[in-house]
Amino acid sequence: MPNKFEQLDQQLEQHNYIADADLVTTLSLMETLERPLLIEGEAGVGKTEIAKVLAEIHDCPLIRLQCYEGLDAGTAMYEWNYSHQLLSIKMMEDGNASYEQKDAGIFNEAFLLERPLLQAIRQSKTPVLLIDEIDRADEAFEAFLLELLSDFQITIPELGTMKATTIPMVVLTSNGTRELSDALRRRCLYHYMEYPNFEKELRIIHARLPDIHDTLAQQVAEFLQKLRNYDLRKQPGVAETLDWASALMEQSIETLISDDFIIHSSRSCLLKTQDDVARLTPNEVGKILNTL
């Protein structure tokens, strides 16, 4: 009977996620130790996808919090339902309720709107909580997260501390656009995702595009490996690889040769900035294609 590690490895592959042994180990640890996982790496290497696949494997809800500059506790944790509170206050007008009674009357769970973080700790079945691109949020928001990540609880001043009914599997991702605090890092397991090597990228292409011709898959993977050696501002990730491979399959292409469609499709699918387009001329792409 496969152990937990082997089982997870198989499950990831069944869900078309090709993971290295160290990532499988980290994911196993995350489940065993019930600790959040911080994944860093360049955009497009498959960080967010891990959370989605974990939710599929465990057949549980995926709760996603997309971070951005200015994200506050009201959007991420909880908010009061103001319109209902106002209505309630109006209805209490005729009564003789004291200030304290009114306060308790409108600041209770009936008026509480759950946002992703609060939702995540109040699920009956363990969910996957994806806190995506945490580096985009302000430093102050990181401080809000600390209580959740270490004790799996959220304190609401009007109601008290709400403890998790089930411990969510927390995945935080970061593209490294700013340094995260040590406090946040220390609460998490850590994994850094590199761009895949040739073998892994080939496996990913076959897993995601099962109908692809073998030669084309090999050449696409080889092309991408060579392209990443260029000094580009935005290196193409796995998502770009798959987009390009799909575009080539749509045109029933089975081998990469230096023709106009392949050159133009590679530039439009794989390059994301004007600088990179200027740097990697059609001529340069042609040269790479000729080496395959």
Partner: protein
């Protein structure tokens, strides 16, 4: 590996990591030991488990493999389970924090600078000392790294200071319902007094020109991080570096990895070498970039000691052109405030009427003051 004492070996390895600058607590040791019972018990799994638990940054992650292999190889030789080989002395691997930043870079610091900076050394973690300490007296590598980090954080704080979005006010266009309800409960819930959110302030537009000539060598590791912090905090800002010519460096500063940024800088530009032609460089800026980058809200920051081989009149002409199309010109001078430096003579005296602020940039405190000024006028 010798499986007779795995616990001791793992604890020994974690201690070794601590010596190399990794922050690993007792909880991580306990977690490691408890996890090993649930995973395949082999060297590879141990390596992966300990990496997830002990690494907290990409630098630690990348150095880990080397440290793990060195430690285990040396222990296997001790046990006699592996032949003696060319094992590197494990104590000679530098701590991870020495691998980041410009201070840890391989660039050649001129001898003159070395002499000047050898006078004093400070320990890491003494923030009060750091605040007022002149950058040129910093010799200790760890202290330099810390100052670099603080300089970048300081720059980023300016962004926070200028983008406080939800200041509660009693006038405005967007009602803060939460505050309105809370503060009117004493009136029975009637919204007698409305509270408003302040409108989001438009981000400040900064253009930075950074002197990377020989005379600025000892200041630059820190001022680079400071400039980098500003550029990363203000998304529409632009940065240029110059010595005898000007080159655009915005993309370098936006690079998330400091190590990559350093490599890119060193690969493409002649840093900390040669003389300074401030006026020529400004002329290049005005010719090529000013129309696209300057506007009436721009705060134009020049980071330089002001030692210029061009004539002052030429610099004045170029500064006039910049002043006409920008909001403020701030000159951050690492020499200002240092003994023996007189700003009231030479180029700096001549250009005073054409700049709005001539501020010191030789310590964290002076950078804080510069930040305060930019926050005030931004």
């Amino acid at each position: 590996m010798n499986s007779t004492q795995p616990t001791d070996r793992i604890i020994g390895f974690i201690h070794f990591l601590r010596e190399k600058g990794y922050t690993v607590g007792t909880q991580e040791i306990l977690d490691a030991l408890s996890s090993l019972g649930t995973m395949p018990f082999d060297k590879k799994s141990i390596k992966h488990i300990l990496r997830s638990l002990t690494c907290h940054s990409v630098l630690e992650w990348r150095q880990y493999e080397l440290l793990f292999n060195l430690y285990w190889q040396s222990k296997e030789i001790e046990d006699g389970t592996q032949d003696d080989g060319p094992v590197k002395d494990i104590n000679h691997i530098p701590p991870t924090n020495k691998l980041t930043g410009f201070s840890g870079s391989s660039h050649q610091v001129p001898e003159l600078v070395k002499d000047m900076s050898n006078k004093t050394s400070v320990g890491a973690g003494r923030q009060n000392t750091f605040s007022t300490m002149d950058f040129r007296f910093l010799k200790d590598q760890k202290a330099m790294m810390e100052i670099e980090r603080l300089a970048e954080l300081l720059a980023q704080k300016l962004s926070k200071r200028l983008s406080h979005q939800h200041v509660i006010r009693t006038k405005g266009s967007k009602i803060d319902i939460r505050q309105t309800i809370r503060r009117n409960l004493s009136h029975g819930g009637h919204p007698k007094q409305l509270f408003f959110k302040q409108r989001k302030r438009k981000p400040v537009h900064l253009v930075i020109l950074h002197d990377v000539s020989h005379s600025m060598a000892w200041n630059n590791p820190l001022l680079f991080r400071f400039a980098r912090g500003l550029i990363r905090a203000f998304k529409s800002s632009e940065a240029f570096a110059f010595h005898t010519e000007l080159f655009k460096v915005t993309d370098f500063y936006r690079e998330p990895s400091i190590e990559k940024m350093r490599v890119q800088f060193e690969a493409r530009n002649n840093l900390w070498k040669g003389g300074t032609c401030i006026a020529d460089s400004l002329h290049q800026f005005n010719e090529k970039y000013a129309a696209k980058t300057l506007n009436s809200k721009t705060i134009f920051i020049i980071i330089s000691d002001g030692f210029d081989t061009n004539k002052p009149e030429q610099l004045i002409d170029e500064l006039k052109a910049v002043k006409d199309t920008s909001k403020k010109i701030v000159w951050l001078n690492p020499m200002l405030g240092r003994e023996g430096y007189n700003p009231d003579k030479g180029t700096m005296l001549d250009i005073q009427p054409y700049i709005d602020k001539h501020a010191s940039a030789n310590s964290l405190d002076s950078l804080k003051q510069a930040i305060s000024y930019i926050a005030q006028v931004g």
